[in-house]
Assembly symmetry: C3
Homo-oligomer: 267 residues x 3
């Protein structure tokens, strides 16, 4: 069977500049027998937390041993370290700036290696494009079954950013916030619906109410269940509570941005 190693790419390089294509060229020169898959290059420039959420949403849908390269790298050229993260079933390569914070929280085994083996880098590397000069070539070499220990030594002090988590001011209230808005204007919160279910178990007669900006967003099961342009909520396909407007945009119709508070009350 023709099974080739898979390398995914997640960057803030956009779709106009040739940077992503160049990274692919670098990888194919080292290992022509790979499949390169774009997750997205549309990360908001320098938005490390957004990228962290994107890669957390995506990685587990790929085959085991997939190598995920993530380049959101405002500190390129500074002392920030390049790292290789090994989890239960996947590899991650990128800058040590917290872009893998959500990965650290979602794996059992975790091994973070500072990449120091310069012979796997591009010669004459620049101080402004480590996607091309470090991350792409290291990923391509790793895809050739180079042992991870060959890339550097484990580190324990990798950067882990504070990810916004929902609060529970009382036993029947969950206070979360919007962490992402997608192309359809759907606003994902950081409230896992299983958390609402847990709380509901302790309040068997209570019904959950979703509130934002003092407005209720009634809970539905799927988008086309409503036909008006009101705001509603549902469990999205990643298990999070999400606000939506059917054939509209929760984000622009209701002015919802990342950070917007959303509260669930079981009463």
């Amino acid at each position: 069977m023709d099974k080739r190693p898979i390398i995914t790419l997640t960057t803030d390089f956009g779709y106009k500049d040739p940077f992503v294509g160049i990274m692919k060229g670098v990888m194919l020169k080292i290992n022509p027998s790979i499949d390169i898959i774009d997750i997205t290059h549309g990360i908001t420039p320098q938005n490390i937390l957004e990228a962290s959420f994107m890669i957390e949403m995506s990685f587990a849908y790929f085959p085991v041993k997939t190598i995920h390269v993530v380049v959101i790298d405002p500190g390129v050229g500074s002392v920030r370290r390049p790292i290789l993260v090994i989890t239960d079933h996947h590899y991650f390569i990128g800058p040590d700036n917290g872009v893998f914070s959500r990965i650290y929280n979602s794996t059992e085994s975790l091994n973070v290696i500072q990449i120091t083996a310069e012979h796997y880098f591009m010669p004459n590397r620049s101080s402004t494009f480590h996607g091309r000069d470090i991350f792409a070539p290291v990923a391509a070499w790793l895809s050739k079954d180079i042992n991870v220990s060959r890339f550097g030594e484990p580190v324990a002090d990798y950067v882990s950013l504070q990810v916004p988590v929902p609060l529970m001011p009382t036993s029947n209230v969950i206070e979360g916030e919007v962490i992402y808005t997608d192309r359809f204007g759907n606003a994902t919160t950081n409230i896992k619906v299983e958390k609402i279910d847990d709380v509901a178990k302790n309040n068997p007669e209570a019904k959950p109410k979703v509130l934002f900006k003092n407005k209720e967003a009634p809970i539905k099961y799927h988008y086309s269940q409503v036909s008006d342009k009101g705001i509603y909520s549902l469990t999205n396909s990643f298990g999070y509570l999400e606000l939506f407007v059917y054939k509209g945009s929760a984000s622009s119709d209701y002015g919802i941005v990342v950070g917007e508070k959303v509260t669930v009350i079981l009463a």
Copy 2:
């Protein structure tokens, strides 16, 4: 020869969210020996007719047995059915909402199957992302030569939307409309140039005149044949009459949108 099954993707998911990348991961997990080709992810959100035109323009350029996955799916999670469409030489997978309307009109043999075999779906499927949970895995299983009959039973009442067709109020007049405007602002009409040629045969001394908004768009052969910023028309590369402005935009310079009436008079 290293020939791998081809799966194409056409969606309205855009280029910022990770949804397309996730669908690719799902497919590669099931069948790592495929080539996945993006047709476009820039379909206007929920625009079923636009997607139908895009896939009609594209599919025949791919090798026989290509599997075309089309996800424009505002009714996801509702009772709308997932379907597998088998034509003379191609497969199509998507929601039964009319997105394949133009395919139904362009094939001799046609077999539409309602996909019901849930063991080919993702476990714990969501009510909001069937691209990931149904269409991608079904496409990947189909690429492994699973017989089409294994996915479900044929249906005859699939949804076919009314596609705008040109009218002929008199024997020498064709009334059509703009059905698509592209990145260059070129405005494709639904008038096939071979139809104009047919009419011309019956009016051998008549010359065709292209009119829109009471203005003439003189007929040319290729774009750079003119140098001014006037509006002109030509036969585009798909055989349709198209309005254009050389190094300008028919769409924005002349305010042309989808639905704009265009008339051809042979007199």
Copy 3:
């Protein structure tokens, strides 16, 4: 080893229309055993010089014998010729409108062939989409090891556009200009930093000063070396002098567009 021929694509077709997907279908029909890599489809419509710079930046990072297809083609359908350019290690296919001007300057051996062998084209080719009808199929046939001489005869009068080069009004002044602004608003000039170094050798006590709009852009080594929103300069990853604003946009914050004059004074 599963090594497949690589074909790259660089166009101004954008990410909404299906044109790029169609070109890929055409190529896969001719040679299913290729890897197709997008460099960019975000070239400003009809901007030949921009495309020329993009492909110059990118091609050398790909394996030898890569075939680079570049379709920025406002003259499609006119007398402008399709050409195949063979350099030391790469192939280039596109219209003879100057889009390869920067390639002609960056190779030792150069062979430019006018593509005339119509049996390698799509049958019934259009006058508006030679990406599909000529360039894609020729690239796919070339990837099957068809000898280059089979596509046509060499020509010497290929179109080479004037590329803006820096001037030196005096022995210690370099006058260049901005030739590209990227997604991050970084403004690349046409001044190679090695040229500054050369001049510096003859002025050993002079320090280089970067000026634009009578403002100095102090020279740094990497982006995050500064924390304010001032404008700075550095050597970018392609060896050019570049203006930047850390976590801002030199382009929009300082109104810098392509053509903006930038001067380096060693005094």
